[in-house]
Symmetry: C2
Subunit: 242 residues, 2 copies
DNA sequence: TGGGCTATTTGACCCGAATCAAAGCGGGTC
DNA sequence: GACCCGCTTTGATTCGGGTCAAATAGCCCA
């Protein structure tokens, strides 16, 4: 964790937001440079996670929100009966931990799907600063709302009773999110397992595997394990709508 | 709409929050009486809706949030392909309209399931006041977070591949929400149609109808159209977990 | 390079939920 | 009361996706 290394120049740790590629998706969006610096100073540290590491556990005390700087994570909740549900896959620029704002504890767990890094934002600080920076308050709400919109998309996906529609919608939305990050919209590298994806979509993994095959036969994608190439974006979209 | 009637005493319209049964669930929760009054004054009006009336449409400009004072509403989104997904059923004390905070327009539509009334909170006012009332800011975030938690429950419900689990979980959570409002937890009056409920659960209406029958045969509930009596709460819960 | 492990694919079979169809029930109006 | 119309229930049938089982492909590490 570079931020904890005393040999590192503090100025190098700070002033990172201004140079971060994600600033237009993240909290600093729309702020002037003085306010961006205030956000920057609020970032407690920038932490690295290995694949499989847990960022926070359901039930652990809530202290901070996290912005993903690189990599990807999944959030999941376990019901009283022990059933696990994956709630979302999260990409750079997204904030995690909102669901804990209600109480003092996290409601779900967050786990890295690959080597990832996050910026930690102590919530007490964020509350204090956003009271005096109206633009920050607004951008914060915008991110909360974006998160809700993503959840609604997830529900709409699970509501489809054709399994192939769910997968097509997933790939389509993944592609859009990749594009938002400035990456190729047609070449996806999925970081989650078939089992994770199946759980997310409300299916079993064998079905997901078969559906990848079907979509490939139909000529809309090309799959090799976790590498997916989108060949026919419109076709994919229309399968999602059927 | 009583609030628009000049013959009504303004003081009667205001100072309602302090006397409202829902104040502990709503924005005023945890505020001192001076701050409750400020919230009260922010309420633009208290509007009545008939069953089927629309509170806001997807795409319409976002100006205000709404707290449900009585009755119930559903929110629904229509995808580009024209598929409709019901996102939630909303009871008194809940705030609606959060999903619009991201942009300038509502992302989904809200429709009354029965005669209902809501308090309208102009968002500009809310933003202004919450900057100076930290407790309000915190309670607001708590409500946002509760909404997200509800969405996560919804996903966990749709993730079950046993249809009867979904219905059982729905009834169980409905019962808890009724209890939170101080109503009987065992006697539910569903305000949504079988079609709405089926869509919400990701099933078809015939299946929902049959499952009500099955749960009744199993002795865990008693159903007569939209009246549901819970006979065996634990049994219902365990069916939800299976 | 080889061994062992996990992730993924593929196959055969079956069941539960979707679909299509029709009847029953209630609430409303004339 | 008689009729109509929408909501709900019930029935018969079909089919998609779940389940169980096995093979294959990668990947990590010795």
């Amino acid at each position: 964790m570079p931020a904890n290394n005393p040999a590192i120049d503090l100025d190098q740790v700070r002033r990172q937001c201004a140079r971060c590629d994600l600033r237009e998706l993240c909290l600093p969006a729309g702020l002037d440079s003085a306010d961006v610096d205030r956000v920057d100073q609020m970032v407690a540290d920038r932490t690295s996670l290995a694949s499989g590491d847990t960022l926070y556990h359901a039930g652990s005390p809530f202290r901070a929100l996290y912005v993903i700087k690189s990599g990807s994570l999944k959030t999941q909740a376990v019901s009283e009966g022990g059933e696990l549900q994956i709630l979302g896959f999260h990409l750079p620029g997204e904030i995690m931990g909102f669901d804990a704002l209600a109480g003092e504890r996290h409601q779900c767990s967050a786990e890295a799907l690959e080597a990832s890094s996050v910026c930690r934002l102590p919530y007490a600080e964020l509350e204090r600063i956003s009271a005096s920076v109206p633009g920050l308050q607004r951008q914060f709400m915008r991110l909360v709302s974006r998160e809700m919109g993503d959840d609604h998309d997830h529900m709409a996906m699970m509501g489809r009773n054709q399994a192939i529609s769910r997968l097509a919608l997933f790939l389509h939305s993944m592609s859009k999110r990749q594009a938002r990050l400035g990456r190729s919209a047609d070449q996806l590298t999925l970081t989650m397992s078939r089992a994770d994806l199946a759980n997310y979509l409300g299916l079993v993994l064998e079905t997901v595997s078969r559906l990848f095959g079907r979509l490939q036969e139909m000529g809309v994608i090309e799959v090799r394990r976790r590498e997916v190439k989108i060949l026919d974006r419109e076709g994919l979209k229309s399968i999602g709508e059927c």
